[in-house]
Structure formats: structure tokens, C-alpha cells
Symmetry: C2
Subunit: 273 residues, 2 copies
């Protein structure tokens, strides 16, 4: 998917919502568990209930891997089921080099046909290179995450008072641009996201941590939006586990709609739609 | 596997060799490709040819993931085939938090029954915690890797002249010890590994990059060994792709034996066997 296609999708749908498909066999509605592929059946219903409200889906790969080979089959079927115009993010946080990194790029961009994959920057540029060779595909670099212990590493500060997360972004600008690279910044990083937006005025920022993790949508949006919207906000548990009855789809839709309506309001106030 | 069991295995086998099972359909002998599960058949033959010479196997998960669900079946069968006394390392370089990290721990320690998994430290302590809850299981933290671009991140230096990789180790010592945590240091990091050994005198260090990647076994061993040996040296391509004929097993064994004999000599010189 191209940069302009993502921006168009946001404007058409009046939404920058991404739903995290962190689908867990222990948490999905009971009645689905008797079916042949409960995780796919769950995802299918979530997608049907929300596909006109979201611009992206983000399966977290750990949930599928933990089930062994059959979990990857559920993932594969899910990817085929997501409509073409919706951005597909593999939340994989991979970070390897050389031949191995090429294998991961093949996994997510060819075997499963994702549009984007989250990567850890700890091994530097070598991790990203093989992914950047794919046309219309994206990397999303971990930058400043929402968890408490991340600051021990990501706030590591050099003698010029520059923190590691900021250095990670600047390093990446040597070999990537806003047409192929996004950044992950947690929704609770209100203070830092303003500074980050100054370093990358044009890049998309993927923001998890709204909803169950407590981040405030309005506040984080106002600090990070640019003239192309420039942010994708992910919500997982707060939407997909909104209800566990046999009619859970309508409750999921209702929850997603609340986020979508808030986003429409924010986009409107910014004059973007 | 317990710390003492690993040390005993090293002394019994007079070896600290780990073979990386980076098994690639494009590189295995042609005649195996007609079989039902070529990757498992290849691994089975590598294991049969080398299991008395090695103390560990390390499948790199990317190679299995890139084949989709069937690749994970090959991985699962491979894990069941490795003898119980051999240390099984998932080279996965995962790095996530909370519920997701728990799912990765379940994947590697329960679904596939690995003894250890490599982790990226970028998100801090939260990544490791769920893995450390398992008894007799190990985390192996990426510390200082062999690739060139890693220095842009891992050598990031604070105002007290401490580099990030060193800080990562010291940070981990707050919540782990030598009974559950190892560190990855590339075989070409000769200068730094002496300093690293001073910070962690007792922990095992996993050293990749000997062989095809050019690291010198004798030099890196002499700079990093401790009184329990304390190092596991991984070789992948230089052994498993030593030959592609129908009798490749004997050539693989011969290559592994060269490494094993060098290691026996080094262990002997150090008075460890």
C-alpha cells in the first residue's frame, strides 16, 4: 500500500483506527470453540463487524505462534479475509540481520502478505534493509514504547543529552523515509511525542496503548497529528473483548464506533476532512 | 536444563559447540526435496551425524516461519527428535511485553519445549519477566552483535562513557542471574568481550559468528572462557552446508569434528577437562 492510499483511506473512512487482532483462545466467546478453526472464526466476525470503521488491522503474531502450526493457519486465513484496501500490520517486533532478516521479510511480506511489520531497532540498520527492498511495503520501528521498564533502555542518554529513542529515529533517517517507514510511540508518551513529531514531521506514527492500556485518544492525537493525519491509533482488548456472548459482534461494532466517532470529530476539528 | 547439567555436558562431551539449524529449502541436498518433510529430514540427518559432538542446537526461527504453517511442523518434529541431554535454543530474538511476552514464553517453552530463547532488550525488563517464571528455562539477551550497523545502537554511549550494551547487561543483573540468563556476544567482538566477562564473571555467553562469519575460535575462547567454560560457540552454515551430496552427513560430521577437536584442545589447555 502506498502512502497516499493510506491517507485516502483515512479521509474516506473518517477514521485512523487500527484494531489489534490479539486473538486468544482463552478469551473468545465460548460457542466459537466448537468450530474447526475458532481463532479464524473469531477474527472473521471481528472483521465483518468493523471493516468499514477501521483503516488497519494488526494481528500480534505471538498469539498465533503460541498455538503451534495451526495458529499460523488461522493467521494465514485471516490475512486472506481482510479486504484489500485495509492496511495489514504484522506486530512481530522482529530484529535480526542478513539472511535471517531476509527470511523474516519473506515470511511477512510474501508468505502472509502483510503490508507492514514492526521491527526492533537494537541491531541497527541491518535489520531493516531486507524489508525496505519490497515495493509498497512498510517497516514500523519500535521507538518509545508504553511499558514502564522501557525507559531504562529507550531513555538512555548520551553526553549531548539525546535519548536513545530519539537517536534511533535520527539513525533511521539516513536510510529510510516517510514512504516506507513508520514509528511506534506509546499513547502514554504525551510529552515526548511532540518532540518526536518535530524530528519526523511527515512520517506516520503507530500509537498503541489507547483503551485498555489507559491512553487518552484526544490528548495523544492533538500532540501528534500532522496535515496528512499522520497517525494510526491501535486499540486491541478494549474492542475485541468488549463482550463474549453469541451476539458479541454488535457490541464489538458499538465499541469500535465510539472510537471511530471520536476520531471523525478530531479529524473534523483539524480541518482534515 | 540446569546450569550444572550444561557444565557437565560440556565436560563429558569435551565440547562447547552449538550447531545452528538455519535450515533453508534452497540450500539442502536436492534428493531430500522429494521427501514429505524435507526440512525435518535434513535436520534429522544433521542431528544423527553430530549429536555426540555438540552440547546445543539452535534453530533460527525465521527459516521455519518463512515456510508458513508447515515450517512450524518441521520445527516441532525437530525439537522432539533432539536428545534430552542437548540444550535447545530458539534463536527468535523476540522482544515484547505483558500478555504478548507471556504468549512468546508459552510458544517456545511449552508449545515447542525449547530450553532457552534469545531476546531483544529494547523494551527492558518487561520482555524477560514472563520467561523467567519458568523453572530450568533460560533467556539469552542480545548484547553486542557481530553485524556492522549494530554499533550505531549498541555502542550508544552515556555521559559516564558507558556503552548501551554494557548498560543492558548491568540493567539485567537487577532481575536475573547466571542460573537463568545468558548473553549473546558476536565472535568478532574480541576487545569488548574481555570487559563483558568482567561484568558477568559467571554467566554463560553465547557466541555466534565463528566459521562462515569469520570469527576465530581460539582467540574468542581465550578472551571469554571462565572456570565453568562459560561459553557456548555457535556455528551454522560452515557445518550444515559443508556438502550437498547424498552422503552429506559424513562431511557435516567431519566439519563438526574439526570444531569439536579444537574445543577439546582449548578445554584441555585451560585445565577444564
Amino acid at each position: 500500500m502506498k502512502f497516499t492510499e493510506i491517507v485516502d483511506e483515512i479521509k474516506n473512512k473518517r477514521s485512523y483506527l487500527c484494531i489489534g487482532l490479539d486473538s486468544d483462545l482463552d478469551k473468545i466467546p465460548e460457542y466459537l470453540k466448537d468450530m474447526e478453526d475458532p481463532i479464524f472464526e473469531f477474527n472473521k466476525r471481528v472483521i465483518d463487524a468493523t471493516k468499514d470503521l477501521v483503516i488497519a488491522y494488526k494481528p500480534n503474531i505471538a498469539f498465533y505462534e503460541s498455538m503451534g502450526p495451526s495458529g499460523l493457519s488461522s493467521l494465514s486465513k485471516t490475512l486472506e479475509y481482510i479486504p484489500k484496501n485495509i492496511f495489514k500490520i504484522a506486530d512481530a517486533k522482529r530484529g535480526d540481520i542478513g539472511n535471517t532478516s531476509r527470511m523474516y521479510a519473506k515470511t511477512f511480506f510474501e508468505t502472509y502478505n502483510f503490508d507492514a511489520v514492526t521491527l526492533s531497532p537494537y541491531m541497527g540498520e541491518d535489520t531493516s534493509k531486507p524489508f525496505l527492498e519490497y515495493d509498497k511495503k512498510w517497516i514500523i520501528l519500535l521507538t518509545l514504547t508504553s511499558n514502564k521498564s522501557s525507559t531504562n533502555i529507550q531513555h538512555y542518554t548520551n553526553s549531548e543529552n539525546e535519548k536513545l529513542y530519539s537517536h534511533v529515529i535520527k539513525d533511521s533517517l539516513r536510510w529510510s523515509d516517510e514512504m516506507n517507514t513508520m514509528y511506534v510511540v506509546g499513547a502514554n508518551r504525551i510529552d515526548e511525542i511532540r518532540e518526536i513529531r518535530k524530528i519526523i514531521p511527515k512520517n506516520f506514527i503507530l500509537i498503541p496503548g489507547v483503551g485498555a492500556q489507559g491512553g487518552n485518544l484526544k490528548e495523544i492525537s492533538s500532540h501528534s497529528m500532522n496535515n496528512n493525519c499522520g497517525i494510526i491509533v491501535n486499540v486491541s482488548r478494549d474492542i475485541i473483548y468488549a463482550d463474549s456472548s453469541t451476539s458479541f459482534e454488535s457490541n464489538i461494532r458499538e465499541k469500535a464506533l465510539i472510537y471511530k466517532n471520536q476520531m471523525e470529530l478530531i479529524l473534523n476539528e483539524r480541518g482534515l476532512i
